[in-house]
């Protein structure tokens, strides 16, 4: 078990290195081939060649690409000193470089952006699990009835409607027409009620999409499980139907759901872009959008790396948890 975890962690590190390498090359090598100059992008449009050359020296942009990559990676772990033009700027670990636009260090910007994203994903997750799993179970048990058809029609709508449509609909109704929420994000520490009020609409919008997917998954899995021999055995033992469903059938139904949930949560860290943009949440996704518009490569690189880490770690957690969820899986 311990050896397995170590092996998996090693694989995670290799994976992240590969992701870093690929993104780094995409951002710092390919633009050069097309004639773009990162140093010029950093300085701005109307800069004289001397300034650009100074920046190039300071950022080490004229070094070979592999050396640049080494500096970048070692900067993440050990911090980095930028020397040039007679000054030394120290960027403490973890150093992801400086924003082209604001000249601020990337890491503090990203850590500022992380809490809204985590709050969005976490809160939405609670809602979609409650709604989706309940709807899925009820649909499976009431198969073919109006309740089942209604729930599945709603789920189909949830899967089909783009998030920016449901988001705008929610905003139009609850913020602008009824005025029930403010939909401005504030820190939880500053104002818990305001935090909740600002997040409730994004939660609902995001949860609607995922609840729909989870309802369909739950329904299909539950129907399959109900046909299993061991469910018949549970009934033959004299268990009440409540126990047959609530304990025996649910236990099996939750297994694929837990797997998907881990991966969805990991993926959401970098990809709740539409939700964050629609509700103006200062999260990672929105930071990515702004950075892309500004061609702010260091920030994009940072977001990509954080999102990749989240996905890879979530997968690792799911794999490790799987041994707990399904005793048939042996880690060896």
């Amino acid at each position: 078990m311990f050896a397995y975890i170590v092996r998996r962690l090693f694989a995670v590190i290799v994976m992240l290195l590969v992701v870093t390498l690929v993104t780094f090359f995409i951002f710092f090598t390919i633009p050069k081939l097309t004639g773009a100059d990162p140093a010029a992008m950093y300085v701005g449009k109307q800069a004289d060649p001397e300034t650009i050359e100074g920046i190039r020296q300071k950022l080490g942009l004229s070094d070979p690409v592999l050396v640049q990559f080494w500096h970048f990676v070692s900067g993440i772990f050990a911090g980095r000193d930028y020397t040039g033009g007679g000054t030394v700027d120290h960027c403490p670990a973890p150093c992801f470089g400086y924003s082209f636009r604001t000249e601020q260090a990337v890491w503090p910007i990203l850590t500022d952006r992380l809490p809204p994203t985590l709050a969005l994903a976490g809160g939405a997750c609670v809602i979609w699990l409650l709604l989706g799993v309940t709807a899925g179970v009820v649909s499976a048990l009431k198969r073919g009835t109006k309740i089942d058809r209604g729930a599945m029609m709603t789920a189909l709508a949830g899967v089909s409607l783009p998030i920016y449509f449901t988001a705008l609909l929610l905003l139009a109704l609850f913020k602008y027409k009824l005025g029930w929420t403010s939909s401005e994000y504030v820190d939880f520490a500053d104002d818990p009620a305001g935090w909740f009020g600002g997040l409730i609409l994004p939660w609902v919008a995001l949860a609607f999409l995922y609840a729909a997917m989870y309802a369909r998954l739950t329904r299909a899995t539950m129907m399959e499980v109900l046909g299993e021999d061991y469910i018949r055995t549970a009934r033959a033992k004299g268990l009440t139907e409540r126990m047959v469903i609530g304990k025996h059938a649910m236990r099996s139904t939750m297994t694929p759901i837990a797997t998907i949930l881990g991966m969805d949560l990991g993926a959401l860290v970098g990809s709740a872009i539409l939700t964050e943009s629609a509700f103006n949440l200062p999260g990672l996704g929105q930071a990515a959008v702004t950075a892309i518009n500004n061609r702010d490569l260091p920030i994009i690189l940072g977001v990509v790396l954080i999102a990749a880490t989240a996905v890879v770690v979530a997968n690792l957690v799911v794999d490790l948890l799987y041994a707990v969820i399904d005793p048939r899986v042996r880690l060896s």
Binding site: A140, L141, K142, R143, G144, T145, D148, L226, E228, D229, Y230, I231, R232, T233, A234, R235, A236, K237, G238, L239, T240, E241, M243, V244, H248, R251, S252, T255, I325, D326, P327, R328
Partner: protein, 366 residues
């Protein structure tokens, strides 16, 4: 223990002539489908006393398993979104009629008064719960007791059915057991509440031959010890030869022959029973001889033709008898003879013809 008032016995429904411990009368289990009504069981009757073993024999689709699930009341629970099975007739268990009883009362009998062993113990046990937890659960649902006591009971039962190191294996999951051990654990789970009726649905089919004999020995020993009534369902005549006091041969959802085991084995009356005996491999038979299969395939249970259901496959359908094979359905009639008490068969042929065909044509070839 929950005590519920005994329901007043409906005197009008009480079967005349005394009541056996398990008394099934004219049981019909029909499933409506898009193609028509599947008459899986169509008028099945039998009696079984405590301490006796009944072997129900027949090919796939003859209605054996459907009947046993019907006795357990498992066709009427948890049929989410499925069309309801139509069940009629009477099932008397220890003086209680189950088909008209309150479903929750039947549920409380399930696993306590009547228990079932299923065919494939791997798929019949929950993969995510330990063997011990599954046995203890069966005990706790019927006994007001704590987890520790239930666990002790599970260990005790695992020991009784011959699991080595039961106090350690009790925490294993089903996939950690071998096939034979799983079936032993399944038997332990069925016996945890000392049921008076044990139904074993093809208990050895999924096991290899050496283990089969052990499991059959175990069932026989446990029956002696607990004095239960046992229904053993199988397509393997070897299994019933080992265990059964009485044999019931099913074909097309009906009983075609029923009687004491020796009678059915040594003086079988129905051509279908002859076919089953002829298709059974025997060690004392000349190896150059081929097994004799029952030709044709099982009848459709949707459009059951009038007349004897076996007649399309019966080599003796043209033998003139009492009634016409292809339009009139033969009733179960008693077989005459000193030793033939309780032996009945549903065949048009006269008993003289049947005895002659059996002794002259069939028996010498077996």
């Amino acid at each position: 223990m929950t005590t519920t008032p005994e329901p007043a016995v409906d005197m009008a429904k009480e079967p005349p002539g005394g009541r056996a411990y398990l008394d099934v009368r004219d049981l019909r289990i029909h499933f409506p489908t898009d193609d028509g009504v599947v008459k899986s069981v169509d008028g099945l009757s039998f009696k079984l006393e405590k301490g006796r073993t009944l072997g129900i024999v027949g090919e796939s689709g003859s209605g054996k398993s459907v009947s046993s699930l019907g006795i357990m009341g498992l066709h009427t629970v948890g049929q989410y979104g499925r069309r309801k099975a139509r069940i009629s007739g009477e099932i008397w268990l220890d003086g209680k009629e189950l088909l008209t009883a309150d479903p929750d009362e039947v549920r409380r009998l399930r696993g306590r008064e009547m228990a079932m062993i299923f065919q494939d113990p791997l798929s019949a046990m929950h993969p995510y719960f330990t063997i011990g937890a599954q046995i203890a659960e069966a005990y706790r649902i019927h006994h007001d007791t704590d987890k520790k006591t239930a666990r002790k009971r599970a260990v005790e039962l695992l020991d009784r059915v011959g699991i080595p190191q039961p106090d350690r294996r009790v925490d294993d999951y089903p996939h950690q057991f071998s096939g034979g051990m799983r079936q032993r654990a399944m038997i332990a789970m069925a016996l945890v509440n000392n049921p008076a009726l044990l139904i074993a649905d093809e208990p050895t089919t999924a096991l290899d031959v050496t283990v089969q004999a052990q499991i059959l020995d175990l069932i026989r020993d446990l029956q002696k010890e607990f004095g239960s009534a046992v229904v053993i369902i199988t397509h393997d005549l070897g299994v019933v030869a080992e265990l059964a006091d009485d044999i019931l041969v099913m074909y097309g959802g009906r009983c075609v022959e029923r009687g004491p085991a020796e009678q059915v084995f040594y003086e079988p009356q129905h051509p279908y029973t002859w076919g089953l005996l002829g298709s059974m491999p025997r060690i004392d038979r000349d190896q150059t001889e081929r097994l004799i299969p029952v030709k044709g395939s099982p009848p459709s249970l949707i459009n059951v033709p009038p007349g004897c259901a076996f007649s399309p496959r019966c080599p003796y359908a043209d033998v003139p008898g009492e009634g016409i094979t292809r339009t009139e359905r033969p009733e179960l009639r008693p077989v005459a003879g000193e030793k033939s008490r309780g032996h009945v068969a549903a065949c048009h042929m006269t008993q003289e013809d049947r005895t002659r065909i059996w002794t002259e044509e069939i028996a010498p070839k077996l």
